[in-house]
C-alpha cells in the first residue's frame, strides 16, 4: 500500500459506548469515501467469567447462573445446560415437563424476535416499527409473567424436568392470549413485506451467500436466511416436545437483510403454532408430574444443544462425580454469527453498516471471551525453544510447532484426568 492509499482510508469507531448499542462492543469500520473496506471487531467489554463461576456452584445452582449469561435467551442457556447434565446422567424427563419446556422456549423466541424486529426498524430510522413491535412484545411478556412470575428471567428449567407447573385451569386463558398474536404477526408479515421503505433499505443489502455462510459456520436464522436448512429443534429434539408437535422450518435462499427479517417473522408464526399445540396436549396430562427425582450426578461428560432465538447454543459439562461441574463450556450462537459481519458488511455503504451489523441479531453478552496470556520468564516452553518467541515488548508469540506442542500437552492432561475419573 503506498502513502496516498493510506491517506484515503478513514477509521470510524462504533462503540464501545455508542448510542445505538445497548451493550458495549467496539467495531472499527475502515472506509474509503462511503464504502466500507474493512471491519475490525473487538470484544471483551461485557465479560463476566461465567464458565469459571460455574465451577464453584453446585449443579442445581448453575441453572440460575447460566440464565444470566444473556437476558434475551435466558431460557435457552438453561435448556441446553440441563440437557447436557441429563445427557451426562442418562435422565429421561416426564412428558408434561417436555411440553412446559417447549412453551417457555417458544415464548422466549417470540419476545426475542419481536425485540429484534423493533430494533431493526430503529436502525433504519423507522421508529414507528420499533414502538409497534415492542407494544405487542408486552403481550408475550405478560404471558411469561403469568407462567413463571417474572418478565424476563423465567427459572423454569431444572435437571430432570421443569421447576414450575402450568395450571390446567389457566390454559384456556393462556391459549386465548397466544392466539391474539397470530393476527398481529400476520399484520407484521403484510406490513413489512409490502413496505417500500423497508424493502429499499434491506433488499440486496449485506448479502451473505450460502458458501460464505458455511465457511463462517453461521447458525440459526442467519443460516436459514442464507439457504442452509438447519434447526436443532428438529434435528436433535432430545428431552423436549418438538418431535411431538407439527411445525415447519422456514428457509430462504437470498441471504440479504430482507431475508433475515422474513425468516424471523415466519418463525414467530411457527412458534405460536407450537405453543398452542403444546397447551392443548397439557390439558390431557396430569397436573404436578413435572420432574423426576435426581439424586446425584455421576462422573462423565455430557453435551446439550438447543435452538436459541439466534441459533444453536451448545453446552458441555464434565463431572468428576462431585457436587459441582468440573468443567463447563458454553458456545453461544452470536459467537459464530458476529464474525460473519466481516464479509457481509464489506463493500457496502457506510449508512447500511448499522443494519447489516444488527441483522445477525448480535448478543454481545453471550459472546464475550477473555484470553489470559501467561508471560513469565520461567515459561518452560520458551526455555525449550531457542527461537525468540518474545518478539517485542510484552507480546508472546507461538509458532506452529509450539502451538502443536501446547495442544498435545493439553490432550495428555485431559486424558490423565479422564483416567483418574474412570478409576
Amino acid at each position: 500500500m503506498n502513502k496516498d492509499q493510506k491517506k484515503r482510508k478513514t477509521i470510524i469507531p462504533v462503540g464501545p459506548y455508542h448510542p445505538l448499542q445497548e451493550e458495549p462492543e467496539f467495531f472499527e469500520l475502515e472506509v474509503e469515501g462511503e464504502r466500507v473496506v474493512k471491519l475490525n471487531i473487538k470484544i471483551g467489554y461485557n465479560h463476566r467469567g461465567i464458565e469459571k463461576l460455574s465451577e464453584s456452584k453446585h449443579f442445581d445452582q448453575v441453572t440460575f447462573l447460566v440464565e444470566r449469561i444473556c437476558g434475551i435467551c435466558s431460557t435457552s442457556h438453561p435448556f441446553a445446560y440441563v440437557q447436557a447434565v441429563e445427557d451426562l446422567a442418562g435422565i429421561e424427563i416426564p412428558e408434561r415437563a417436555k411440553y412446559i419446556r417447549c412453551i417457555i422456549g417458544e415464548l422466549e423466541r417470540l419476545h426475542s424476535h419481536l425485540l429484534w424486529l423493533g430494533l431493526a426498524g430503529h436502525f433504519i430510522g423507522y421508529n414507528t416499527l420499533w414502538m409497534w413491535a415492542w407494544k405487542y412484545r408486552e403481550t408475550v411478556l405478560d404471558l411469561c409473567e403469568q407462567i413463571s412470575g417474572n418478565r424476563n428471567h423465567y427459572a423454569m428449567m431444572r435437571i430432570g424436568g421443569a421447576r414450575r407447573d402450568i395450571l390446567n385451569k389457566e390454559i384456556d386463558e393462556l391459549k386465548k392470549k397466544t392466539a391474539t398474536l397470530t393476527s398481529v404477526l400476520n399484520m407484521f408479515k403484510g406490513a413489512v413485506m409490502d413496505d417500500p421503505v423497508i424493502a429499499a433499505r434491506t433488499k440486496g443489502i449485506g448479502i451473505l451467500t450460502k458458501e460464505q455462510a458455511i465457511n463462517y459456520c453461521v447458525v440459526g436464522p442467519t443460516a436459514r436466511a442464507s439457504g442452509i436448512d438447519i434447526d436443532v429443534r428438529r434435528d436433535s429434539p432430545h428431552n423436549s416436545a418438538y418431535n411431538l408437535v407439527e411445525w415447519n422450518v422456514p428457509v430462504l435462499p437470498d441471504g440479504d437483510v430482507f431475508a433475515k427479517v422474513v425468516v424471523r417473522i415466519l418463525e414467530m408464526l411457527e412458534s405460536v403454532k407450537i405453543i398452542i399445540q403444546c397447551l392443548d396436549r397439557l390439558k390431557d396430562l396430569k397436573e404436578g408430574e413435572i420432574w423426576n427425582e435426581v439424586r446425584d450426578i455421576p462422573a462423565g461428560e455430557g453435551i446439550g444443544t438447543y435452538e436459541a432465538p439466534r441459533g444453536e447454543v451448545f453446552h458441555y459439562v464434565r463431572s468428576d462425580g462431585g457436587n459441582t461441574p468440573f468443567r463447563h463450556k458454553v458456545r453461544a450462537p452470536s459467537y459464530m454469527n458476529i464474525l460473519s459481519n466481516e464479509v457481509a458488511v464489506i463493500g457496502g455503504d457506510i449508512a447500511d453498516a448499522c443494519i447489516t451489523l444488527a441483522a445477525v441479531d448480535p448478543c454481545y453478552c453471550c459472546t464475550d471471551r477473555i484470553q489470559a496470556v501467561e508471560n513469565r520468564p520461567a515459561c518452560p516452553l520458551r526455555q525449550s525453544s531457542s527461537e525468540a518467541s518474545h518478539s517485542s515488548g510484552r507480546k508472546l508469540k507461538y509458532n506452529w510447532e509450539q502451538l502443536l506442542k501446547l495442544s498435545q500437552e493439553k490432550t495428555k492432561r485431559i486424558l490423565s484426568i479422564k483416567n483418574q475419573v474412570s478409576k
Binding site: P19, E23, P24, Y45, N46, R48, R68
Partner: protein, 138 residues
C-alpha cells in the same frame, strides 16, 4: 438557586452498561415504549454524557468498563444523578465472586439511588428516577 431544581423537568438520561446480562438494558428501552412511555414526562435517552442529567448504570462493572465509567463521570456536567439499576449494579449480584468484577458501582463513583431487581421492572425504574429527582430538587 438550587442547582438540583434544574433537574426537575425533562430529565435526559445516559445509559452505561458494563458486564450486565442485557436484561436491565432491555427494560430501560422497554420503559420508553408504548406501555410505559417515559417520553411523555420528557425523559429521553441521549447518546452523550455531556447532554445528560442522569446516568443509569447497569451490570456488575468489569475491569475493562471500570476506567471508562470513572472517566465518563468525571467529564459529565454536574449536577448528575447516578442511578444503579439491577442487583448486579447495586451489589455485584450473582457475579460478585467473579475474577473479572471491579464493581459494584458505588465503589467507583457516588450513587444517588439504587433500584434492585433481576431485572428491575420498568415501573420500578420510573419510580426510582422520580424519587432521585425529588431528592435532588429539595
Amino acid at each position: 438557586m438550587n442547582k438540583g431544581k434544574i433537574l426537575s423537568r425533562s430529565i435526559w438520561v445516559f445509559h452505561f452498561c458494563s458486564g450486565s446480562c442485557n436484561n436491565c438494558d432491555i427494560e430501560i428501552l422497554d420503559a420508553l415504549t408504548p406501555r410505559f412511555d417515559l417520553e411523555r414526562f420528557g425523559i429521553k435517552l441521549v447518546g452523550s454524557i455531556k447532554h445528560a442529567d442522569c446516568m443509569l448504570v447497569t451490570g456488575m462493572i468489569n475491569k475493562k468498563g471500570a476506567t471508562r465509567l470513572k472517566f465518563l463521570y468525571d467529564i459529565a456536567p454536574k449536577p448528575l444523578a447516578v442511578v444503579a439499576i439491577g442487583a448486579c449494579a447495586c451489589s455485584g449480584g450473582i457475579f460478585e465472586p467473579s475474577y473479572y468484577t471491579y464493581g459494584p458501582v458505588d465503589k467507583i463513583i457516588p450513587v444517588d439511588a439504587y433500584i434492585p431487581g433481576c431485572p428491575a421492572r420498568p415501573e420500578a425504574l420510573i419510580d426510582g428516577i422520580v424519587k432521585v429527582v425529588k431528592k435532588l430538587s429539595t
